[in-house]
Every structure is written in structure tokens, then in C-alpha cells.
Symmetry: C2
Subunit: 320 residues, 2 copies
């Protein structure tokens, strides 16, 4: 029996931990404010950690965003725009953050961005990565899953091509989004602060171990791959005319089969899921997605094999 | 044994059912939109029912308010202001609604306003009245409590003098606020829509029975009287430095004793309740109250005796 050769990565020197990318998602905002005053628990010996509030004007007003969703602004089109005072606030901020934390694709930027989010959906502890082909990221989430066993963590992979990247973490070489739910936007719940804190700490511990030369062996990981978003049923005026079915509410991640009830009208009529195969819905009834015409997102669950990873050894050549 | 003489009230001719007084509290908004298109289930034989979205601009943007909290604008000062285009949107709207639904204190306005709200706090089914001295209202909430037994309903009385009234229901002769939680603002949850619908229907049934001459006998009612609001602990910069203690989160209405843990700092220090007697906290961790510097509200529970009530009989004299 032969095992795959290890995939190697350069050690990480700079990590940013972001809160307030959405200005009303309070676990990360509360922790980031704390870390800006008391950064001691972020300190590690092999790399620097920079806490940052990503959208201060939105945080100050406790709204998701001022002009548009910041975390959809890190697209190639926007990042290549010429700066201009007339641009929407978050477009300008995305360009600033790309300079501050990147620029994307460069060597001098952050090696990892950890971005802290909350959702009104019953998502539990969701670890979000842009691509399951980045095995530094897959091993990091696998390590978090194994280490914070008290909280079940699930892994969501957006599987985005470079030209389709859109979120702030994509500015760095490696990325981790943490989505904790359910939590009302604008509210701090103590137990979610602790969950977030533990997950961020564990991610930093992983980087420290990796930098120090710990090798992470081949293993398997269940990931949920984003497939598509599904809107609410709407009437002829475009208004929502059915809500998430009570049998589906709060059942994020669990299998949804063709024909299962998914929506309910005010007349009491159930509307079945019209997909052609079993899927795993997530972000069920996330308040911020109503305006995006998304009642839930569909994922498929796949088991992937992670090759072993280790740090580049000096003089050994190019890293991924 | 003698019983109190019945308190009499004039029959009710006009009832308004409001949604969207706060533009992101979705149970009432969703139902009100439905009733505006299909009012059949609001129809009763002895009075008219008018469904109304109270703050359409805020509903359109799915925010609590545009300029300021509409449901704090029905104060004597504001209602007596001269109209003026430069006034904040909700101040103008409050004056409009006072004309449309009142004016307060007049004979020609609404005889009852039912106002539908949601809260992120674990308030369950809260029936809110401005004064426990209005025994039409106390009997209405008592009837709802007994009738929708499947949902435990608690009664909150603000106990406001006329000069301190501030909310939209106070424009009418009688008032009922319905506060359902927990629900994230901006989200419609099917089971909360059904709870709200059942409570509003039961209130309308009560009015119908009353109008038809049903007498409601003397009874007892437990009410929670609003005493004061309590802010979060804050640091020297005015920032919140401790959150609701996990042992208190979601325990609205339940007794809070002096010394019980109420807040928790990020350093893990519990902060005890410093009150001088047992109280019943409500609106624990309501997102909209952070800006009002309210972590929770304190109430005291009292049992009150309701005198019997009945409709005025013709020629019998003045009604309350």
C-alpha cells in the first residue's frame, strides 16, 4: 500500500482575523473589539495575527452594510476598478481591504484570513472554504472538526474558480469563514461568542503546528458543496406567498428528498421540493438572503480524500 | 357574598389590525399583506376590521424604522406638533396615523387597535396592554389566555399615565399589542405566523362576543408590570463589556433574584443582579433595544382582580 506524496505549503507569517464584514453579525464584532484592546490570546510564536473590523461604518450603525454587501465586492471587476469617491462605500472598502490585506495573488499580503460571521439559520458551526482543492484549508477545517469535538462542525465548500471569487477571505493565500447560527443579527449571545472564540483559537493553533513542522497525514473529510440557491414562491406581484415549511425550518444540513415539504402557504398548502435528487439545504430562512431571493441554498455532500500536507523545507522548491 | 357591579363599555364599531409598525417584524407584516388581499378571515358581524401596514417605507426596506422608532412617536408633544415636511418620517407618519385611526381621545376613531410585533427575545406569546385599569383590555387578554391554551400567553402592562403614552395602540379607545418571540427580525417563521393569526382571531372573537352582549364575569389575572429597563455593563469608552449570562439567556419572565448571575464578561467573570428583590426580566437580549441601552426590562408580577364587564345597554348611561 502506497500513500500519496505530501503536498507542501510555505509557512504562514501573517494572519488576519476579521469581524464586522457584516456590521450586525455580533459574535465576531464583539470578539474583534475585545482583541483590538487585549490581543494576548491571539499571540503565537511563528506568525503575527491582526484583528480588524472590516466595515466600521456598518458596525457603527449595526447594519449588514451601508450601500451594498461588502462580502460580495471582492470580484475581479471591482478590485480592478479605478478608485473614485463616487463609488459605493463597500466598493471603496473592498479595494482598500485588498490593498491592506492582499493584494489578491501577491506574495506580500495575508497568508490566511479568518472571517467571522453569524446567521439566523440553524447552521450550527459552519466552516467555510472557497475551494476543497486547497489542502491547507481542508486540513485546517479537518483539524478544527477533530479538536472542538464538543461542537459539531460542518464544512461548506463554495468551489469557486478564481474568476468567480467574491468574498474578503479570497484576498489571502488561504481562507476560512466561520458561520455560527442560529443568532439574530444585532444580538450577542454568550455561548456563540465562546464557540467562535474556540474555533478561531483552534485555527490559529493549527497554523502554529503547521509552521513548526507538524505533518498532517492523509485523511478523509465530508464536505458540503454549494450547488445553487432557491427562492421563495412568489405571487404575480413578486411578493413571497409561502414560507419555509415548519417541518423543514431549523433542519439545515439534513437530507431533503424530492417531494419532501419545503414551503407552506397561508392557505395551509404544502409545496414539495421539486429537485431531482436528495440534497442538503443550508442557510434556511437567513434574514439577509431575502433580498438576494434565497430561501435556502442547496448543497451536495461528498467525501473527499485529503493528501498528507507539510511545510516546505528550505531549498526544497516551490510551494503551493 | 356580594360581587362587584359590572363595568360597562360601549360596543365597538371599528377595529384596526396593524403590521409593520416596525418594518422588519415579519409575522404581522406577512399576515397583514395577506389580509389586505384576502380580508375574509377578519370579517365579523358587529364591527369592521381594517388591516393596515403602519410604516410602508420601513417595510419596503425591511428595517425597524427609517428616521426614528415610530412606536415611540405617539406622545402628546409629537401629536400636537404642527405638520412640517422637514420633520422625521416617523414623526410625520405618527401624526398621519393619529388622524387616520384616532385622533386620540375622540369618539370618531378606532375603538381598538391590535398591533403585531416580534422580538428576538424568548418572550413566547406576550399580550401587551397600556393599562391594567382598562378592564375591557384586561378581560380581552384574559379571554385570549384561556382560549389559546396551546400557547401560553403572558400579559405585560406598561401602566402608563395618559401623558406618558407613546405607542400606536394608544390612539384608540382600547389597545392590544402582541409580541411574539423569539424570532430574528427580517425572518418569517411559519409557526409564529400561525400563533399570531390565532391570537388576533381570538381577540376579534372576543370583541364580537362582547358586542353581542356576552357578559364576562369577575376573575383573576396575573400581569407583569413594567418597572424599569437595565443597560449592559459598559467600559470607559461606553462600549458593552459584558453580555447576557448564558444561565439567563432565553429565560424571559422567570424569576431573577438579587445575586443571580445576569451578565458575563469576556474574561469569564459573572456579574450578579444588583436588584433589591425578585423581579421578572423580559425582552432579554432584544436586538432593537441595544441602541436604547436596554439589555432587559424588569417587571414585577401581580395578581389583579377583574370586575365583571358587559356592554352598555341602551339608555343605561355613560360608558367608560
Amino acid at each position: 500500500m502506497t500513500s500519496d506524496p505530501a503536498v507542501t505549503f510555505a509557512p504562514l507569517s501573517r494572519v488576519a482575523v476579521l469581524g464586522g464584514t457584516h456590521g450586525n453579525e455580533m459574535s465576531g464584532i464583539f470578539l474583534t473589539r475585545h482583541w483590538l484592546k487585549n490581543p494576548s490570546e491571539l499571540k503565537r510564536s511563528t506568525f503575527t495575527v491582526t484583528p480588524l473590523l472590516a466595515n466600521q461604518p456598518a458596525v457603527d450603525r449595526c447594519v449588514r452594510y451601508i450601500d451594498r454587501d461588502l462580502n460580495r465586492c471582492f470580484t475581479p471587476d471591482i478590485l480592478h476598478l479605478d478608485s473614485n469617491e463616487a463609488l459605493p462605500l463597500e466598493v471603496r472598502r473592498a479595494k482598500e481591504l485588498n490593498c491592506l490585506l492582499g493584494p489578491r495573488g501577491s506574495e506580500e499580503g495575508m497568508h490566511l484570513i479568518i472571517d467571522q460571521h453569524n446567521t439566523t439559520a440553524n447552521m450550527g458551526n459552519c466552516l467555510l472554504i472557497n475551494n476543497s482543492t486547497n489542502h491547507f484549508c481542508t486540513h485546517m477545517v479537518s483539524y478544527i472538526q477533530r479538536t472542538v469535538e464538543a461542537y459539531e462542525c460542518r464544512v461548506l465548500a463554495l468551489e469557486l474558480k478564481d474568476t468567480n471569487l467574491f468574498d474578503v477571505t479570497s484576498v489571502a493565500r488561504h481562507d476560512l469563514g466561520v458561520e455560527l447560527g442560529p443568532q439574530s443579527h444585532g444580538v450577542v449571545r454568550a455561548e456563540n461568542v465562546e464557540r467562535m472564540r474556540k474555533i478561531v483559537q483552534t485555527a490559529l493553533d493549527f497554523v502554529e503546528m503547521f509552521n513548526k513542522g507538524v505533518e498532517f497525514p492523509e485523511c478523509e473529510l465530508d464536505i458540503y458543496r454549494h450547488v445553487r440557491n432557491v427562492d421563495f414562491p412568489r405571487d404575480v406581484d413578486g411578493e413571497i406567498c409561502a414560507v419555509i415549511h415548519p417541518e423543514r425550518q431549523d433542519r439545515d444540513w439534513l437530507p431533503l428528498r424530492p417531494g419532501d415539504p419545503i414551503f407552506l402557504t397561508l392557505a395551509g398548502r404544502s409545496i414539495p421540493f421539486d429537485g431531482d435528487r436528495t440534497v442538503h439545504p443550508i442557510f434556511i430562512n437567513e434574514s439577509a438572503y431575502y433580498e438576494k431571493r434565497t430561501a435556502f441554498s442547496v448543497t451536495e455532500r461528498v467525501r473527499v480524500r485529503l493528501p498528507p500536507i507539510r511545510r516546505d523545507r528550505e531549498g526544497e522548491g516551490a510551494s503551493q
